[in-house]
Point group: C2
Chain length 208, copies 2
Amino acid sequence: MRRTKEDAAKTREEVLTAAAEIFYENGVSGSSLEKIAQRAGVTRGAIYWHFKDKAEVLTALHREIRLPQEAIVDYAIEHGHDDPLGLIEQGAIEVLHILANDEHQQRVFAIMILGCEFTEHLSDAAQRIITANEEMFGKLQKLIEMADQQGTLASRWTINAAARALQCSMNGLFAEWLRSGKSFPLVDVGDRLVRSLVGSMRHGGAGN
Amino acid sequence: MRRTKEDAAKTREEVLTAAAEIFYENGVSGSSLEKIAQRAGVTRGAIYWHFKDKAEVLTALHREIRLPQEAIVDYAIEHGHDDPLGLIEQGAIEVLHILANDEHQQRVFAIMILGCEFTEHLSDAAQRIITANEEMFGKLQKLIEMADQQGTLASRWTINAAARALQCSMNGLFAEWLRSGKSFPLVDVGDRLVRSLVGSMRHGGAGN
DNA sequence: ATATTTACAATCATTCATGTATGTTTGTAT
DNA sequence: ATACAAACATACATGAATGATTGTAAATAT
């Protein structure tokens, strides 16, 4: 029953989508490779062929999604730096729309935030998430520093506090939205939240 | 080896503190009752005497943490308040100080937020957490509604959006602080965040 | 055409956590 | 003094998940 290379890649993808479903339903630790295999229509042998163990399946899932925070920063970098705060605002709102419409990213993101245990001795996948988060924070920090050097950062904010506040609010917004089963309009709430926060960070602008 | 009632209550407490440690280190699903028993200096028999199963140990931990600020909010809802937004701001900042100084609450919070899997078919403990969160949201909503009826809610905010934004920001703040290993000053960042947000919600105030 | 991988399936042994059942000691009520 | 029940410890039975091994049919290289 040897398959061609395309077939193999297909089963690999099917395993990953099945894993996303099972992980989402039962949590990572509550999901056995047997269940994932059944959902994918293969046996555990196939999974062990493509991945070393369950943790590697999880990291593979994580590699698939671009974290929304990264998208924020990418947007800002792409569109120049004449108004860093404005770009952060626009980028954040852009990401809201993207995440609100991409169900697969929602599911994988939900797994990472809600269905995955962050422990003291972190797993490989959890470590990747934390690292990505820290990188995003660093980039946010630099953008806000640019705003500060332009004199557009309100005096009530420090660079670090502003970057943290944005990071926490965005992550909290996504997490709460997913945890609540998308029970509130993400874009609507997020839009007001981002505009208010960034507005309060603007020197001479609102909130100072 | 029958113990007196005080002895029994003591071992129960020791089991709970041990459980908090083990859960924090390994995550909930990664912790066996055997490990918890060893840490507590008892056998699994003792744990099964005091609790039905692991889930009940977790809910017992969750019952322990009750934010003192809830009482303040309850009082305000019952008796009304001349400045609901100010009360929210004050209460939130107070909670920041409390949480920043109570290591046990931090640990239990970290377990609930980071070391516990929220799945589709929720466990008993996870359901309790979600319920508590929803109750908190409801109270926030009522307070903001009071502010709206007094005409102090800025027109850029709706009642629901404002309550959600506050909830998401605060939860995100705590989660990020704990996940980062308390790598940033919680009170400092939180103080600026809360004041900016509530400020933007105040009619005629900052951020409108 | 043959050899050699590839891409799995099937089976097996082992570990590990759980739940339960039972034993044992000691407070406590009478 | 005795009976009973509380507060555990000990032992066992079970099932589930894992990782490893082996089998195998087809694709691909030579």
